[in-house]
């Protein structure tokens, strides 16, 4: 399970991810359009990406300049290289559930790949259990208020 523990830490590791910008853009000193420009970035410029703040992601150039770019302009993965391989998650969960090697379990393992969905039999007991966890409109309203979430009027975009 050491791998899962590492996954949990991922969001807190700064500069963890190589990324590129999909268009030429400005590297900003602060996460704001009107902030000073640190550098001009070319299309497909390689960067290391860090945390996000609103619509901005903190990045560092190979030359060592730091600043912020619009998060929607970033795509992860270094240019021309393959992304990291199989996380092996599925296999690990099989091991966790059966206590034996995941590879030896080929039938009877539940999960949500296409075949498992097609072959599933209804589980009415779980359906009942799910209903017991449902929240009322009023309860969820109190839950939102406790975190100071405020409902807003926002229009759907034109189709």
């Amino acid at each position: 399970m050491r791998f899962l523990a590492l996954l949990w830490l991922l969001p807190f590791l700064c500069w963890a991810e190589p990324a590129v910008v999909i268009r030429a853009t400005e590297l900003k000193k602060e996460p704001a359009t009107d902030a000073a420009t640190v550098a001009e970035l070319a299309e497909n410029a390689a960067l290391d990406a860090g945390e996000r703040k609103g619509g901005w992601t903190r990045v560092r150039t190979p030359g060592g300049s730091e600043g912020w770019v619009k998060m929607l302009l970033l795509r992860y993965g270094a240019p021309g290289t393959a992304k990291a391989g199989d996380t092996g998650l599925s296999q690990m969960f099989n091991v966790a559930r059966t206590g034996t090697s995941g590879t030896t379990v080929t039938t009877g393992v539940r999960g949500l790949d296409a075949e498992q969905i097609s072959n599933a039999h209804p589980n009415v007991a779980e359906l009942g259990k799910m209903a017991s966890f449902a929240a009322t409109k009023e309860a969820s309203s109190g839950f939102a208020k406790r975190a100071k979430l405020q409902a807003r009027q926002v229009d759907y975009p034109a189709p």
Partner: protein
């Protein structure tokens, strides 16, 4: 439908009376086809959805953690309350599966997998994913696909039977077809629409509107060959394409609501069981 009326018109013409076709039978067929194309009402939508949800729960049970399940229900119910179908019997479940995925079931049942939750950083990201799924239910994307498919696979009375008799063979067929939708996927335009509406619904709920794009970016960073994302990638447009589409259509909305809460602390405590 036009092709059905043409032979009927021929039969009704006296000059063709010598064909001596069984008019009653043809009229029956026409009547039954019109039944198959009738709208599924809300009560039926909810009942079909329950059957489909039971099937998904047969593939993967709920994560056995009441606190996590109640938490996701609270977030989801709050978001659903901000929509035009606020009065549906909304329920939310975290499925105990390593694959990264989320499912919208007609009638207001939404699932997210433990695998996807484990990749999220805060409540705004969870809200973004749930809002995308809520949008599928609002727009009846799966229901419409099921109805379209039923016209082909359930001829005549069978569709009516499937809706009215929950123990019928036709019903089992309809539910099988409906459940298969989750391994075949919806139209790309449905997914992109759910992304746009999802951003709006999360913003209405008071969350940082960038929650959904943030999850898409996490997915984009993963290898498409990874078995944990294989089905989700097969049934959805590529994350990079979804991010492009949001950038094109939703940038003003995203930026207007980017400073709303993300709630990483509450998420870390309440969703601990998914880690």
């Amino acid at each position: 439908m036009r092709f059905l009326f043409l032979p009927l018109a021929l039969v009704l013409t006296p000059a063709h009376a010598q064909f001596n076709l069984n008019l009653d039978r043809i009229l029956d067929t026409v009547k039954n086809v019109s039944k198959a194309t009738r709208e599924i009402d809300e009560k039926e939508e909810i009942a079909i959805g329950r059957d489909m949800a039971a099937r998904l729960l047969g593939a993967a049970p709920l994560v056995a953690d009441a606190r996590l399940q109640r938490y996701v229900n609270n977030v989801g119910r709050w978001l659903a309350s901000q929509t035009e179908r606020a009065e549906l019997p909304w329920q939310f479940g975290v499925l105990d599966a390593p694959q990264l995925n989320a499912f919208a079931v007609p009638g207001g049942t939404i699932f997210v997998t433990r695998g996807l939750l484990a990749k999220m950083r805060n409540e705004a990201e969870l809200a973004g994913v749930l809002s995308h799924e809520i949008a599928h239910v609002l727009k009846k994307h799966h229901l419409k696909a099921i109805q379209k498919g039923a016209q082909v696979s359930l001829a005549g009375d069978a569709f009516s039977t499937a809706l009215s008799d929950s123990r019928s063979e036709a019903r089992a067929k309809l539910i099988s077809f409906g459940t298969e939708m989750y391994s075949r996927g919806l139209d790309k335009s449905d997914e992109l629409e759910a992304d746009r509406l999802g951003v709006v619904i999360a913003a209405r709920g008071g969350y940082d509107a960038y929650g959904l794009p943030a999850v898409l970016q996490t997915l984009q960073a993963m290898n498409a060959e990874d078995s944990a994302v294989a089905l989700m990638f097969k049934t959805h447009p590529a994350p990079a394409e979804r991010l492009d589409a949001l950038g094109e259509k939703m940038q003003p909305t995203l930026d207007a609501y980017s400073n709303q809460p993300q709630l990483p602390e509450r998420f870390t405590v309440e969703a601990k069981a998914a880690r």
